[in-house]
Symmetry: D2
Subunit: 205 residues, 4 copies
Amino acid sequence: MMLARDINDWKNLILMNRFALKEIDTKLNILNEEFQFIHLHNPIEYIKSRVKTPESIIEKLKRKGYEPTIQNAKEYIYDIAGIRIICSFVSDIYLIYDLIQNQSDVKVIEVKDYIRNPKPNGYQSLHLIVEIPVFLSDRIEEAKVEIQIRTIAMDFWASLEHKIFYKFNKAVPGYITKQLKECADVITHLDNKMLFIKDELEQYK
Amino acid sequence: MMLARDINDWKNLILMNRFALKEIDTKLNILNEEFQFIHLHNPIEYIKSRVKTPESIIEKLKRKGYEPTIQNAKEYIYDIAGIRIICSFVSDIYLIYDLIQNQSDVKVIEVKDYIRNPKPNGYQSLHLIVEIPVFLSDRIEEAKVEIQIRTIAMDFWASLEHKIFYKFNKAVPGYITKQLKECADVITHLDNKMLFIKDELEQYK
Amino acid sequence: MMLARDINDWKNLILMNRFALKEIDTKLNILNEEFQFIHLHNPIEYIKSRVKTPESIIEKLKRKGYEPTIQNAKEYIYDIAGIRIICSFVSDIYLIYDLIQNQSDVKVIEVKDYIRNPKPNGYQSLHLIVEIPVFLSDRIEEAKVEIQIRTIAMDFWASLEHKIFYKFNKAVPGYITKQLKECADVITHLDNKMLFIKDELEQYK
Amino acid sequence: MMLARDINDWKNLILMNRFALKEIDTKLNILNEEFQFIHLHNPIEYIKSRVKTPESIIEKLKRKGYEPTIQNAKEYIYDIAGIRIICSFVSDIYLIYDLIQNQSDVKVIEVKDYIRNPKPNGYQSLHLIVEIPVFLSDRIEEAKVEIQIRTIAMDFWASLEHKIFYKFNKAVPGYITKQLKECADVITHLDNKMLFIKDELEQYK
């Protein structure tokens, strides 16, 4: 059983992470609209975000072998606040990465490029962990946010793979794994072809 | 030049069509949530809608050889109000079609299946023209709405094709047309594979 | 303890009521925009809505001396779905009432006028119970909705009174009750004065 | 006639001001939710915002005797970006003012207290001009925002007064001016009474 005092601390942790998402969301919206204004192309199609529940943070801490404390959550769990950016084209993914890196108040502290190096099951996305200041009434807190950037097709694939993974409780039949991997390859092929057409198009500007 | 009286009539036409979109949007949201509740799957990913501007209605009337009057707009232009439904799977498209057909207050007056019969350029979507009652303060008006239903991949393709078409002012270079057609084929292949995996998945329920 | 089967039935009841709110909300928005278009004045400032939780429905059933069943909830609780319409002027309240009464698909089954007859504590609002059809995939269900219509000032008063009532667990000190009653009188005075100015203004049209 | 180059500059000015509103809106939402979390009371009821159009900026520059240039707009017009904060209680107004003043990245450059010193017509609000950094892709720009903070009742009064002022093209009949002033006095009385009740209530915490 949690004490009332503890419950409040966890609520506070969740709140700080919701604030971090608000800050990063505002920043990304401004960058997207500025880019659209200057270059007549919006690199971001849409943004989804979520904050992990205390239950899922505690479970992740235990899985990693840590005591389930607020302190450990802040130190070892980097994806309490998560934001997903969906783009039309693969080139937009790296463009957004550049825009984020150039922000003086954001610190990129980790990059995992699952597009150049897809996971064995076919998963593709660019993952960043960033730190961003949250302006509270009496202080500024640095908060970590996980940013996943992917194309529409990669996102569609990932959401189907996620459903399958949980349905089979992680023991997915081999022929479905194989089909999913094939779909991932088709998606890479499709994203490349669409990007090629877009690049051709821009030569005619 | 338009008279003030005419301007008001056109504004009124636009308003009626915005109301029709509100009605159909509410209906679709209810059907989607009801389906999600019963079958644990939401056939609709998201919905976009738009009303044509008076300028574009008048242009379309002229192109079709009609006088640009409100009366003709109501009689001959069926896509003043347009709604686009984006689904994850091809099977969802026909499911939504069924749900719409079964609504006692909606009349389907035209169906064009560009999925079973894609356009030569590769365009795929299911197009419906429906009639739906709009409840005003002193009467009920029947309004027409064009509904386009497509998968995420079909929608991505269509938006790129649209940009290209307008960029080249309808004279698209042959090799780009060819590339687009190939992309459309890849999308059909991908949508079929994803549907196959989903169908397999459902057998394990 | 509730059975899984029961939980599903309650979820279904809540869902139907959420759908009823969507339908009435769409209807009110259309009526408001139509009125704004014709008369250049929008009678509705904004709309808030809520669905009662199963817990609060069950509590209300018990308080009224009924078995806490879905069937009884449908039969005896008329405010499972509740919508609150906030207006600028008292005249708007009765205008909206007229608009609702004239809708052929809405049945007004109860009216309580706490404006002409305020509650002893000073509470003012017009309360309606209406029945509205909800279009489901395989049938049409009639659903009841409670509509509360009030001015901005009445709404402000009601929200303060509500906080006080719950804070003192219904045993509000006499001098606070008195102050609240006086505030209600000031609000009536203010709403009348503002309406007077608005009516004067309209004579100059 | 404006040159295409100029039009773009004005569009850019408007965009920067929309970004400033996004930043301040995010900040205010965080402060409001943080306060709600700690003190169980949200000082902000709701927020409205708007950016002046180029036409209205140019008109204001001319009225003030300046050349209608972008440079002058940036230097002399402080309310291109405007945000209005609506509170339940007068005490919330000054609380929000304190919260804003304590933000290290916000500079308050002007304060006009029309609550302690209402305008002759009865107008009440607290007006601030603040400067806030906007993070663009390649630089940080300081942008000015006008913040108006008022109670629900003050806001209602101000919107009626605004309609009257424009209807009579600034020549309001004397008896209406008098009625409006009386309403403003009633509002001050009402806001004080409501605040008194709230303060009493908090003593029982």
